[in-house]
Amino acid sequence: MRHFFTILGHEIRMLLVNPSTYIAAVLFLAIMGLIFTGLLEAYSQEAQEASPAYDFFRLFWLPVFIMVPLMTMKSVSEERRLGTLETLLTTPVSTTEVVLGKYGAVYFLYLLFWGSTGGLFYILHRFATDARLLDPGTLIGGYLYIAVSGLFYVAIGVFASALARNQAVAAVLALAMLFALIFGVRLALDVQLLQLETFRTVHAVLDYAQVFQHLNDFSRGIIDTRHLFFYFTGTTLTLILTILGVEARQLHH
């Protein structure tokens, strides 16, 4: 793992000089700002059941769909297209170090973006007279959920990038996989067929994989190890598949 930090540093640097990072950042902050303003307006008109932070984090999927594909699409596919993956892998670095370095860099940036939304809550804290608007439990739980689930979402993006040679294809692939994970599970649960007794296990598994349920628990301050386990194993599995994907592609060069 001696090259991990070299690659991580390099990748973060390359992301920071890359225009698409700034496009992602602008889009992200614009969307989050708009959502937040909309929420505050609703709260100023009438009393709501949940705190603004709770509603805010419920919309986490919107920036995930835009940001994750934008930030990860380049990571492996671009190197493969340019052929620099070949020069990279002929130095004494392992595929694991390369994949983890790239993954780590995007995850770092993902956290940085989400961290910047803290500013919105700071503004609310400065100017809101009502202390109930800021529920620290929901806030901490929400950010914790973002950090943990982000591990998985970014891994999916990097995996898509390792499969496709073309950036656009990688982005679409990442989007499709994220959609399947975030909404697909929920939609599948509504299928009547799964209500049958025979499919009870399948139903239970899908129920366990409901990300909105996870978010709900986190926002209420419940840190369920089963949820943590879901994201950690998902991340590990996806990263292993990414490493295998890069190596397999190399064999059939």
Partner: protein, 343 residues
């Protein structure tokens, strides 16, 4: 750095019975060769002959189907990480990241090649100087000309002071002036590092390399120094003359000069009565003077005489053409032509 055993210390690359198949088709078929320290070896072959595949296997980027590759005594297949520390590699088309500056890129690569920070700064200066990149060290790679990019690629390959440098078509797409610079650069490595370069540009290989391996259809069809190859593959020397006089009496004169000297081709007399004549011999000695004297003594008029040096191009064409004929022949070395590998 692990110490190589003394017997193979002088050998930096050892390849034994290397085979690589893609879906049943052999890209490299039972190739064996060795490269000594400090030697520059050219891998020559038409497109699709297996040059790039061989090189990729040498670097450990591609696994071989069977066979052994050792770099400085270290088997690439089982100890790839160690072997990679001895290799500087420049792939075909020299891929470089578009949006980095030259010195940033070289610094990053140096770190990946495990050069310590302190050493890297001095080494960077050396390499930039050597490859004449000092003026453009702060330029963005994507905006460099092809020749400059090529020099960046070479700088990257020699950065870690490896024992073995592998360059796949280092001069492709360069103008003659840039080719000269790159050739000098590669020549400057002679004696210190083993260099293996591939090309299908023949004068290129002839000017730079100590030894040439000609590969076709995944097999070596000939190997040796350019001079050896000329002898082995063509086996003959040609003389071109412009001659006035009676050609019918010529064969007798030629037989006097040397037994193997024979008339190969002649054109009819032009308006001044001269014929363009091609003679051929398997004698390696210089026969020009004796030939000239013999012709003048028989009162032939001689306007021009030239000993034609077969270029590597002729050798290459002969070797690759022949390899199609012998590709299915049983492996049997030809007597009297030791430098040749017969299919």
């Amino acid at each position: 750095m692990p110490a190589a055993d003394p017997a193979s210390a002088a050998l930096t690359i050892e390849v034994e019975h290397l085979v690589k198949t893609y879906g049943g088709v052999a890209a490299v078929n039972d190739v064996s060769f060795t490269v000594r320290r400090g030697e520059i070896v050219g891998l020559l072959g038409p497109n699709g002959a297996g040059k790039s595949t061989t090189m990729r296997i040498l670097t450990g980027f591609l696994p071989a189907t069977s066979g052994i590759v050792r770099i400085c005594g270290i088997p690439v297949a089982s100890r790839a990480d160690e072997a990679k520390r001895h290799i500087g590699y420049m792939p075909e088309n020299n891929p470089l990241p578009e949006d980095m500056r030259v010195n940033e890129y070289l610094y990053y690569r140096g770190r990946l090649k495990e050069i310590s920070r302190e050493r890297l700064h001095t080494r960077l200066d050396e390499v930039l100087e050597l490859c004449d990149l000092k003026r453009i060290r702060h330029r963005i790679i994507g905006k460099l000309s092809k020749g400059m990019r090529q020099r960046v690629g070479i700088a990257e390959a020699i950065l870690g002071e490896p024992d073995v440098i592998i360059m796949d078509e280092p001069t492709i797409g360069l103008d003659p002036h840039q080719i000269l610079i790159v050739r000098d650069l590669i020549g400057g490595l002679r004696g210190r590092m083993s260099v293996i370069i591939s090309s299908h540009i023949l004068p290129e290989i002839e000017a730079t390399c100590d030894r040439v391996l000609i590969i076709n259809g995944g097999r070596f069809v000939a190997q040796g120094t350019p001079a050896e190859l000329r002898r082995a593959v063509l086996g003959r020397t040609h003389y071109e003359l412009e001659l006035g006089g009676d050609l019918a009496a010529l064969p007798a004169v030629l037989a006097e000069v040397h037994a193997t000297l024979a008339l190969q081709a002649a054109t009819g007399p032009d308006e001044t009565g001269f014929h363009a004549v091609t003679l051929t011999t398997s004698c390696d000695d210089e026969l020009g003077e004796r030939l000239l004297q013999a012709l003048l003594a028989r009162s032939y008029r001689v306007r021009a005489i030239n000993r034609a040096h077969p270029t590597l191009e002729d050798v290459f064409l002969a070797a690759t053409k022949r390899s199609w004929d012998i590709v299915d022949a049983p492996a049997k070395p030809k007597a009297g032509r030791p430098a040749l590998k017969n299919g």
